[in-house]
Symmetry: D2
Subunit: 224 residues, 4 copies
């Protein structure tokens, strides 16, 4: 698939991540699209995804703390706000509808593949700066966008999930996050950042995070 137009950094990092297709076209994803993913695997994924969202929100909060401009701070804090006041309550509702109550959700034991990705992102953010955090977060935010865009209209039992990420709202968010990243790079490293050693380091961050996303889907497929 051609890369969605989520900006320049995304295009470069995506092209340099050996596992990008293994992530975005993982068997779990294909089975979601075809609609033949066993329900038990989807529910296992949903529960882990709830724990994931907690740490994902923490990472965006850290981004707000590490922002360099008011615009960066506003973008990051708007994301945190959306996550903890809207998406996470929504996730609780969806799980409830599937028979997983809030207590069961809270009691979810975090799978190693989940720990690996979220802690990698947070540690990248703590040890590095705003750019490291963005490079580590990007495969999740933008990869889900690419998956959603590719599967959009597939229908089937997972149509709601697919349309969440393939729909206009999420696609618009992906373009905004892509622009936030491109802006943050230019603000710190100038227009020719792509040729700097720093750019290689960030591409490696993106590639490692992508590799850990493969593990996340695999966990969804293995567990139940």
């Amino acid at each position: 698939m051609t890369a969605p137009a989520y900006g320049r950094a995304f295009a470069l990092w995506r092209a340099a991540a050996p596992d990008w297709d293994a992530y975005t076209c993982h068997d779990f994803v294909e089975a979601l699209g075809r609609g033949d993913l066993p329900r038990a695997n989807f529910l296992h994924y949903l529960r882990q995804d709830y724990v994931f969202l907690i740490h994902f929100a923490r990472a965006w909060a850290l981004a707000a703390a590490k922002a360099d401009t008011l615009a960066e701070m506003q973008a990051a804090s708007a994301t945190v706000h959306a996550l903890v006041h809207h998406e996470m309550p929504l996730h609780v509702q969806i799980c409830a509808r599937e028979g997983i109550d809030a207590a069961a959700l809270e009691a979810t034991a975090e799978a190693p593949a989940n720990l690996a990705y979220t802690r990698y992102v947070l540690e990248a953010g703590y040890s590095g700066d705003f750019l490291d955090l963005m490079a580590a977060l990007a495969p999740c935010v933008l990869g889900y966008g690419e998956i959603g865009a590719r599967l959009a209209g597939a229908g089937g039992p997972y149509a709601e999930w697919i349309e969440t990420y393939g729909g206009d709202e999420y696609q618009g968010l992906c373009r905004e996050v892509g622009a936030l990243i491109d802006g943050a790079l230019a603000h710190r490293l100038g227009p020719d950042w792509a040729g700097l050693p720093r750019a290689d380091g960030l591409a490696r961050r993106f590639a490692t995070a992508t590799r850990l996303e493969v593990g996340f889907w695999q966990m969804g497929l293995d567990g139940a």
Copy 2:
């Protein structure tokens, strides 16, 4: 003055901070109340306060990243959201009305007393945990509440400032933050936290932050 009812930790920490009165009854504060604070000093304070708010918002974002429960995360992220999407734009408006445009505001050189307080808070948060961050933030949040409550109704040229902090909305926020702190302490240290060495360490954090708040008012009084 008797302590406002902002909770148990506040009452203990306040009583143990040698500079609490020097902070909450500082000459700058008294002059605000009497209405004879020179305008130049107030404007100097307003400009520094804008820079302060940036780092204050960053500290609350860090609190969201370091929260242990969804409720803590929601409380911290709601504060960040209010700061960067409402209070800071409002601050820009107020300054504009006083003849300080956005460019001048952005160009404000951070005074050493300002650097000292904000970096103390952020470093406490990074090096310690959520509780350290709360203890370092509390003198600002709750001290302004106590000052506002004491000066409420004073009128004069600074009535707007006084009523912002003395009004019901801010007083309610102070009770919420006090409850957030008490809850965070009990959640981690149990009901008898007050007798633990950790409580002394937190009281020292609060006392040091209070001492740096004295310096902030003094900066307002000295500068212009």
Copy 3:
């Protein structure tokens, strides 16, 4: 096996970690002791362990930054110093003897199980305080001590590895680290820390880190 005498916290945390035996008696460990671990697996482990040591040293450096007393700072910094100036160069030598040169070692791609454990430890340290870091580091430091003590004298092709961890020097280090942890707990939480909610949180950290150590051995067994 009865717990080695590495202190009070270790005894409590070890007893509360469901995967402690799965970690310390993992097939990889048993094969090391019997001497029938395939050489390829051992070399795979050695290469990953080199990358591990880098992040392990970083975590101890973070502990020095987060220490509360000069004694804590000295203990943590002595560990960092030993790691980066002695153990890591030694590791390079051992690998060289096995035909893995420095360039190959540096080029080692970090396995997901390795990423998971090291980033979990570092993130625990950044998001929490000195105690969180100690609880996350303890399964590695003290678990290797317990394994070494149990296998000591087994001989065979992996005798050098076994004696490194079973020998007096490393066993002494384990007692020192155990005492450092017990001291740090008492210093912050008083003598009755074991009954506080904070103690449960730390025991969970230890248990999660232990679970990730199981994954590390499994990676050694699977990979080659």
Copy 4:
């Protein structure tokens, strides 16, 4: 004075820091050189400097945690080791000789100017990356080198202090730290880093830290 040859970044940052002369030629420094600094001020400075060294060592430990290469990690950890195992014990001895015992030293209340500088450095390190930390630490390490080089041979009651920083060992350390910084910049940003926006940000860090160093000397001169 011409800049000592501590490398390229130092030369650029120094030239761009408006307060560099106010720092390195502060009245406190001049009085040290002439030998007419009142003893009480020197002792006040020594006590604060002890507290300073604790946080300075913590900052170098954080640098080891945030290092990107083994060489950076070794350089940072060697500095921590020297500080906590040699310089701080030496400082205790010197103070003891001056009649300030260890208990008095430990009981030193941290002056606001001290808090301001050390927390600024640590927060720069936590919020930013290795380069931010280096830029914030450089005015202290290299400024003392420049002062020592300028005053070397002045004799008088403070000759020991002067020769510590003006002597070959410390001057060698300054060249090493300068090379560490230049290397870290080139490693991340390539040979043309000086023209990047990032370089301006780092120069501002250096300039702010320099401004806070002026406050540190002033504290030495005011207090007693």
